[in-house]
Symmetry: C2
Subunit: 307 residues, 2 copies
DNA sequence: CATCGAGCATAAGGTGAGCTTACGCATGAG
DNA sequence: CTCATGCGTAAGCTCACCTTATGCTCGATG
């Protein structure tokens, strides 16, 4: 019988790339991980890893074994979800990850709703980069997370994480009221709307984020390379900068409600989809289901089931 | 993360009924099993067992957890099968269980074929009652087993064991050549064929076997209760007893090839199906696949895939 | 009804699996 | 060249898990 804990290590190695990273993520020493993987390899009777430079990579046999590990761990997650459902009442800690812009907008309303429905639940919120969400979920640091993706930036498919759609918002172009320049958008297509600001400085999210990638690719799709002057994640700051003529930027609908008066907002045919993510198999966990329901109520989603 | 070893114990408890039986099957003490199940229950946070008299029974939550355990263990079995497939060559021990009548007929031919194709394989044959096959498979005492079922005796569905059909034989009625009694079967229906021997003594397999149950139910279906005089599992003995007028008995086609001359054999519209059984998920294991293929060759099955 | 064995749970103690620390070696960056 | 990074092995320690011992309850049996 293969040891599932060792399969878990193999899966993490496949995801994270180095034994040292696995060890750090699971709060072990690298030595322990190395030893356990050696045992797994001996049990398997087939080479699962091979050195590549100073790292290790999985052999084909190792990679197919990871797919089995995914299936097994997903089923175990489903089992704990059902057990939690059998326990009467919803309570205990719930570790919630959120993208930074979800902080002011979605999270408070969701937590308020959640507290009203399930007072015994102890939500623990933590800001986290979208790219690190799936690691955090798998490592058990997070139970559920608010994530989003944009047009032009497809979310990488990850079989270890399930997602439920929460909200779809239009993106807006935020610009200053520059008098006399004649830069006014006409038309409905993205290229027509963005075109007038091809030469303008731009305000985007920080490099390495999906928001940054979205901004660059949207401008490229409109036929130009944006000159990025400011890199700011906070949309209120983006709006404030745009208002004083420091450049053009993208903000989601959610951020437009309290925009400064002297900022010009143009709705774009470009969308941001917010989702709730959790470990594959965890969708039936009552606390997670409750979080999803509360979030939907908070943002006003009209029904709709999982993808 | 639920411990799969403990889930395995819970599954065995569900199947075997008592903690003591589980302990014996897995060569533990009952105390160890009890302790591990207690830990599992604490981890689950839900009562999984409850005392019932001096035994324990699973709660509904416990039983649903067993279905998850089945799924997880099947997937792990599939994983080891694939790993064995990745290892080049087929070899090592293969523990084979067989019903007693398979001993002389099917097993030698199968092993000969197997040895020709895979000399490195070390088959280990062991006679085993049909009723104990699935326990033996799950406990790892057996890797593969020859089993059969009869009309009137449906095999109990068991999700932890997969089966592949191997052979379907007609059953024959074996009787003596009693002169002058006028007991000659006319017709094609079971009742017509068995009817003349309603008052005869009968020779069946030993009580508690599927062969015994089949004989009784076939006679009941024909409208009478058989008076059982002899209980013998060996079909050659059945034929010899029938030949000397000691009663009527059922034998499978396979046993009729070297029947005594003074026995009367009547083909019945009643069938015995032989199958190869193995742990769920084990069908892709190369040694098991090789055994199935060899057995099919040995008995002359014409193709056909799993059920 | 009294007795006894079967079955399970708990307490106490021993042992090995699995962890950490320590160290050596190879690789690739600066 | 030099050094940091990453992996593997050796040695030792700790705790999880198993066994033994014991008690309790239930149900079969005379």
């Amino acid at each position: 019988m293969l040891d599932v804990r060792r399969l878990h290590l193999l899966r993490e190695l496949d995801r994270r790339g180095t034994i040292a990273a696995v060890a750090q993520a699971l709060t072990f020493t690298a030595s322990a991980v190395s030893q356990q993987l050696s045992v797994l390899e001996r049990e398997a009777g087939v080479p699962l890893l091979e050195r590549s430079g100073r790292r290790v990579v999985l052999t084909p046999a190792g990679r197919t074994l990871v797919t089995h590990a995914d299936a097994v761990l997903e089923r175990l997650e489903l089992a704990v979800s059902e057990l939690a459902g059998a326990r009467e009442g919803i309570g205990g800690p719930l570790r919630i990850g959120t993208f930074p812009s979800g902080g002011p907008a979605i999270v408070p309303a969701t937590l308020a709703e959640l507290a009203r429905r399930h007072p015994a639940l102890e939500p623990m919120v933590q800001e986290i980069d979208s790219a690190r969400v799936s690691d955090g979920l798998r490592a058990g640091e997070l139970d559920v997370a608010l994530v989003h993706d944009y047009d032009f930036v497809p979310a990488s498919p990850d079989t270890t994480v399930d997602q439920v759609p929460l909200l779809e918002e239009s993106m807006y172009l935020a610009t200053g009221t520059v008098s006399g320049t004649g830069r006014v958008a006409r038309g409905e297509k993205l290229a027509e709307l963005l075109g007038p600001w091809a030469m303008s400085p731009w305000i985007t999210a920080r490099d390495g984020t999906t928001g940054h990638a979205m901004a660059v690719r949207a401008c490229q799709a409109a036929g130009f390379q944006p000159r990025i002057r400011h890199q700011v994640n906070d949309f209120r700051t983006v709006l404030a900068l745009a208002a004083i003529g420091q450049g053009a930027g993208f903000v989601p609908e959610m951020a437009t409600t309290h925009a400064p008066e002297d900022v010009v907002l143009t709705r774009l045919p470009l969308f941001r989809r917010s989702k709730v993510a959790f470990r594959a198999g965890g969708g039936t966990h009552p606390a997670i289901a409750a979080f999803v329901a509360a979030a939907r109520t908070a943002v006003g989603t009209k029904g709709g089931a999982s993808p």
